[in-house]
Assembly symmetry: C2
Homo-oligomer: 142 residues x 2
DNA sequence: GCTTGACTTAGAGTTAACTCTAAAGATTAA
DNA sequence: TTAATCTTTAGAGTTAACTCTAAGTCAAGC
């Protein structure tokens, strides 16, 4: 059993347009067509789409995702490259997580700041809570 | 004391081109110019740039960052909107963090998979470790 | 005073990732 | 069998966020 492009799109949360675009970009060399020319997505193809989504979701550009797909199509000789790519991507994700953590601390500070401002209707927050100034400087110092 | 556009750019890890672009887009209404027309960034302006970087770094589009800046320029009456924006952005960051956590689990699985593949020089990983199949299906089930 | 490098503007060009259109062919349900 | 709803292609258009160019102005060091 297989799925039409519309069904496949719905299953992975993309549009049929986007899947065709990916195909055109060479990201879906594994997708076969019926005798009348319609794309037929298998369960295995859906798995591929999920891996693509995972890599895209962690910020890997489509070009590099294509590189990975190409390695997969090339065979066992590219296993080291693929392993390396995932190790690099793991590193990238962990760096991003750290960055987001820092940004979140700043956002939390701003929420605290504006909550006080909203309570009093003005921005004299540091007059009311001088200790917050040190906290702010620490958060934004780099 | 104030900084030239090049100095300011270096301080926040952007280019002078990008700062001019931000200015053109209305993100830097607070930056004043010298009598001869050169932008002069104050310490306070650098703080603004860091907040912009924080919001941009958590995925807020420049248009919405401009909206925030506009609110700031408008005065105390927009404090509730600004508070609300940061609360929304906090929510967004936390959703993203959860998403990245899921992607990371998939990437870690792939690393495990390709490490075994690399060790044996082939992709018969699930023949050697049938229990990994269940793990894979759990990770990619949604 | 002169050179060198940074700065100014307006505006054009780039890149990634879609997003949509048109015209034609395929599939499904009544 | 016919209408409605897919799907196909090629190719144009869009959006966000830069990125660069040209032609001229300004500032700092010798």
């Amino acid at each position: 059993m297989s799925y039409s492009i519309g069904e496949a799109a719905k299953m992975v949360g993309l549009t049929a347009h986007t899947l065709r675009f990916y195909d055109k970009e060479g990201l879906l060399p594994f997708v076969k067509k019926t005798s009348s020319g319609l794309r037929a997505f298998t369960e295995s193809d859906i798995e591929w789409l999920k891996i693509i989504e995972c890599l895209k979701g962690t910020g890997l550009p489509l070009k590099q995702i294509k590189q990975y797909i190409d390695w997969c199509m090339e065979g066992d000789s590219t296993i080291p490259q693929r392993l390396n790519m995932f190790i690099e991507q793991k590193k990238h994700v962990e760096e991003q997580k750290a960055k987001w953590e820092k940004h979140l601390a700043k956002i939390n500070f701003k929420i605290k700041y504006y909550e006080d401002a909203a309570k009093h209707g003005d921005l004299n927050v540091f007059d009311r809570h001088p200790e917050l100034l040190k906290e702010k400087n620490k958060l934004f110092e780099d």
